[in-house]
Point group: C2
Chain length 334, copies 2
């Protein structure tokens, strides 16, 4: 394991400390633990909380700020945050309008967010939750019943966050989040594994001439192991799965081409070149593209494709201003 | 070589095509070759052009847009753009106010930008150029006489770009660019090499327990090869060199902690945690931080630290609005 770290057991704490030191204008950490909230609490709106294991940076602390989240709770690497941690986050951001939890579909995450919700409700905090399960690769997985929640979660942060910023009710923010989830699909692929610092060895092994199609963001197995092939064929296969799962033809979409952490931008742009062509051939109209690191898996060399079907409401909310560490949108574009 | 590519010889063209397809609102490509300009030409201001070999994405095409560059000319991977390519770029963006070339200090880049300048001047285009040489690691290098130009170049884009946007004269934009160069220092380190697609094998070899201190952005040798050590000690050593080179004590600075492409955000934040402490111990006041991929070396696992000494003028220009693919600044912050 060759990483820019100190002691493996300190990675999560040092990372959170570094994040907060680098961006004090955006975020602060609660004294009680690794709970990241906006540097200034926003009132008079529904508050949004998300979280999950660390190792997916900039998810989710990078999305705390204007127009997106109010709180992110990072667990240990690839490990759910604890109910206490989530509960402290909910308490810190709660407003009379209520709190919406955006949960990726992993069994541990759901259990712990739901326990935190129960604790908060005993304090008379109004809480609702939505579960993102955008990964079309597999039904059920190492840590999931049903589909996994992956990069499409960022679109849920953006759209629900923008809705909350308008002063909409908890019911309305929950509705738009659920509609976003119903219209977003993702699938990923990896060429290399990644190494959890505390483990010290790669999560799986893969040949120099192999790829894992449909990989999960923790390195969970995908649909199959294949021989390496040109990226155009990889993109074809990802889109085959995604387009077969939901009818995107004739729709406007937001596209996210996400790096798993170790994939350089050059390769993402090369992949995008063909991705754009295949979408056009399938009569899918790209409204806006996002290319970069949004939901990573440590240093994994991999990528994922996310398509979000848009309507006028989701388009307007996607365009609304956002100012966070990792996602900035000026707002007001056509 | 395991990369998300098609044919190695098509990487540069497919990357540029993908970039332009992904972000048509920001950039377009000239028909004559790989010359990237703003999607709408900005008039009544000095125009800025930069460029260099590909493989450093998002540099420089990711910085084309409001408040930064008007044109980027990417060469083949780690290869200078041609004089013709640069000349076409200059012609495309030229305004009566003139054109400023921002050149990283590599012998080939300087030669080709200067030839392009001569060609443009024969067309009566007013052209000036500045050379960025921020890397404190070594004097002279594989492709450089003097110091190498690296991540500090992004601050020159930002500050000179903001100055140009105010309508300042070419002389004024050149002055502020030169003052930025005089006040910016960088040094990098790498744990792994990177592979130029057309070469197919890594640029150098390094042991599993070794790091290269002071590496260049093309994998050029640094100050020495060392045994791996904790990131805190690595940061200490980088700052020792930078702080010995220019007196930052008592100054406000902008800090850039840059990934070489393969380094995950988690490791950058861990590094930042200690970086912030060491700067504070040395009475260097951090005004603004930038943590992420700004000037990469393909998939290299490495990082660099850049410090820019600020004055009121540079602070205001750093804060001015910018809207590019890879660098967004809302403007108007304190």
């Amino acid at each position: 394991m060759k990483k820019f770290i100190n002691l493996p057991e300190n990675c999560e704490n040092e990372m959170i400390q570094g994040l907060v030191k680098a961006f004090p204008g955006y975020v602060k950490k609660l004294d009680c633990g690794n709970v990241i909230v906006r540097s200034e609490k926003k009132r008079n709106k529904v508050a949004l909380i998300s979280g999950g294991g660390s190792g997916h940076e900039p998810a989710h602390a990078g999305y705390v700020g204007t127009g997106m989240l109010d709180c992110a709770v990072p667990g240990a690497v690839f490990t759910s945050p604890t109910p206490d941690q989530i509960y402290e986050g909910i308490k810190a951001i709660a407003t009379p309008e209520g709190v919406l939890m955006i949960i990726k579909n992993y069994t541990g995450d759901i259990m712990n967010f739901e326990m935190a919700q129960e604790m908060a409700e005993m304090d008379d905090i109004k809480v609702a939750g939505v579960v993102v399960d955008d990964d079309v690769a597999v039904q059920n997985s190492t840590w999931t019943t049903g589909r996994r929640g992956v990069a499409g979660t960022i679109f849920v942060h953006k759209i629900a966050g923008a809705m909350a910023e308008t002063g909409a009710s908890l019911e309305e923010v929950e509705r738009v989040a659920k509609e976003t989830i119903a219209n977003v699909r993702t699938m990923g692929v990896a060429l290399t594994p990644c190494t959890v610092p505390a483990a010290g060895t790669p999560g799986f092994s893969i040949g120099e001439d192999e790829l894992e199609m449909g990989i999960g963001i923790h390195g969970e197995p995908g649909v199959n192991r294949q021989k390496m092939k040109p990226v155009n064929e990889i993109i074809d296969e990802l889109l085959d799965h995604i387009l077969a799962d939901l009818d995107f033809a004739g729709s406007e979409v937001a596209v996210m081409l996400n790096s798993s952490g170790g994939t350089p931008l050059m390769e993402l742009y090369i992949a995008y070149d063909h991705l754009a062509d295949v979408l056009a051939e399938n009569n899918v109209k790209v409204y806006r593209s996002y290319v970069g690191e949004y939901m990573t898996s440590l240093e994994m060399q991999g990528l994922s494709v996310t398509l979000l079907r848009l309507n006028d409401e989701r388009k307007a909310l996607l365009n609304a201003a956002a100012d966070t560490i990792a996602f900035k949108e000026f707002g007001g574009r056509s």
